[in-house]
Symmetry: C2
């Protein structure tokens, strides 16, 4: 696909309504925030000494984003678990949030049983499946939702639900202080960007389309820090699943201690890697100073770079900003490669093979 | 360098004694374990509700390895922090282990001051520098050691110290139960491998040399799970710093949910990536089943693969096994590229530029 400005061509490739799901991200967030706020959470959850968010792939991303966002706000440790087993410390003083879009992820169901056996406080976030059964059989609270704002029905395109529901549960359990008005402001800002980066805005005025074109034929290397690390993770996963593109993430300051030496061999990487720095005025001062110096080092290693400077006036707004950006960029990149973003044949093949064992 | 079997050529390239540091890994572990066991830890540390290991680059790797190893053993959350700031939850009930080989890492010193201000229990692990001053000025316990078994004096080559000292502190604080006899057995197994993978063993009988040759001209993609995730992280960092080679890590089962779709674009990755699976009989059953299926999917995407099956009879032995393997492989790969593994010019350049700001 040569032009990203033909809605006809976009609609022809996008058989699974991924574009509509992106356009509905704000509505997803609003629905989940309002619905979870009206529901029960485990009565003793404000007393939990630590929190686990257990989920895989797209269903882990909400937890990762919230974990990064809350590092400077949450009053207990929050850990995202993407394995079968829960850490040994999980006990009756732990709040375990189980997140599975389909409700049938085998790792998350294993975690669910472990949480039950350890006597943990349990909360589930799912559209149904076995996880919904598990919750009702054991009398656990949860948010079993109708993903009406995610017409693609792809978990990675329903991130508005998983981010907002985890935020809402943590807020109801008094681990963070997040006002309805703060959320509404963030949603409105996200909706502005959904328009600005949308399919109707031509490429020469559209940051997301222009970025997708630059990433064509490249391995995007997403660089972020602090509250945006979870968002970078999301960007990478969406590149994998929507654009069938290899993508990487590294964080500053940690990468300054090793990665810069690793840009020499093999020589072929110099033509393939494309570093994308997600720069934010909300990074702490010494971290911010590192961005231009790191960029210079990468360029001196003959590797292309790009900076996306966030516009959001608060950290939580930036979270949604990068979510909108990464959703669109991965979608447009799929279009440029002439690919339907919906099918994930290898993930499906893998699940079939695994189910035989 | 064409042959890895000429000690003369190796010694000519290895001006900084990296090889001797690798050969001394067992001695590093023994020294740190014994010395920390004889020293004081904060009296109330067994009561800590959570543990932070704060360190950067090579000094974070000990924490990462221990964190992975202990997920199924530790009775409180352990978090590795590679940033300036400590998470908001850190308070008087937190044990903060500050790890900086030189003692002059600016991120770790920022964390140190934050730990002090929050009233946390503090323990330092360093060879000296400003961190040693900070500890003595504030009356904090610590392990200020003579790195006599690390003649290269490169932090990444002193991992025996950072792993064993963190293990010893956590053991003294009663977070884990680790016997002297268990450690001694693990050290002896490591020393056997130091011989088996050593420079004196010719390439046709040497797993580490053979692996280095296969990784030549490639981007190694290290795949691991559960207790070996921290070890995979170490492998990647050593590839960066010793062999000046780009390296990546992903973990199973999480990668099964997205990465397999990302092996299509750009097409050039198919010739460059080389997946190295660190397979272990100690992974949980369903994780173990995933290894051959994942390998098959990668190969069907026309990407080379390799399996390293661990030999260690216990998880802690495997940790040291992979440490020995990754140290040697990254060293031999540097030799194949004709590079002295010691200099890290970009990290040094970066620190100089940063110090001007």
């Amino acid at each position: 696909m040569h032009s990203l400005d033909s809605l006809d061509e976009i609609n022809k490739l996008d058989t699974g309504n991924v574009l509509t799901s992106i356009e509905s991200l704000g509505a997803q967030i609003r629905q989940a925030w309002e619905e979870v706020r009206q529901r029960e959470v485990p009565a003793a959850c404000p007393l939990a000494k630590n929190v686990i968010v257990s989920g895989m792939g797209g269903s882990a991303l909400g937890g990762r984003i919230v974990d990064s966002l809350l590092a400077d706000r949450a009053r207990v440790p929050i850990e995202v678990v993407t394995e079968y087993n829960l850490p040994n410390y999980v006990n009756k003083d732990t709040l375990v949030i189980l997140s599975s879009y389909s409700g049938n992820t085998e790792e998350t169901l294993a975690s669910a049983n472990e949480a039950l056996n350890r006597g943990a406080m349990v909360y589930g976030v799912t559209t149904g499946g076995k996880l919904a059964d598990f919750l009702s059989e054991n009398g656990f609270d949860g948010y079993i939702y109708d993903p009406k704002e995610n017409p693609s029905n792809q978990p990675r395109m329903g991130l508005g639900y998983s981010i907002a529901s985890v935020l809402a549960v943590l807020s109801k359990c008094e681990f963070i202080n997040l006002l309805d008005s703060e959320m509404e402001e963030a949603i409105q800002e996200a909706e502005k960007l959904i328009t600005d980066y949308g399919a109707n805005v031509p490429e020469n005025e559209n940051v997301a389309k222009a970025l997708a074109r630059k990433l064509m034929g490249k391995v995007p290397v997403i660089i972020a820090s602090e509250h945006l690390v979870g968002s970078a993770h999301t960007f990478k996963n969406q590149l994998n699943e929507n654009a069938k593109t290899f993508g990487l993430i590294f964080d500053i300051p940690e990468l300054n201690h090793h990665l810069m030496e690793g840009l020499r061999n093999p020589h072929e990487i110099k033509n393939i890697l494309h570093f994308l720095f997600l720069d934010s005025p909300h990074y702490s001062k010494r971290v911010g100073i590192r961005y231009p110096i790191t960029k210079e080092v990468v360029e001196k290693n003959d590797i292309e770079t790009e900076v996306y400077g966030t516009r959001g006036s608060k950290k939580i707004i930036e979270i949604f900003e990068i979510l909108v950006l990464s959703s669109y960029v991965s979608f447009y990149l799929a279009m440029l490669y002439g690919l339907d973003p919906t099918p994930i044949p290898w993930v499906d093949h893998f699940k079939t093979e695994l189910s035989k064992s």
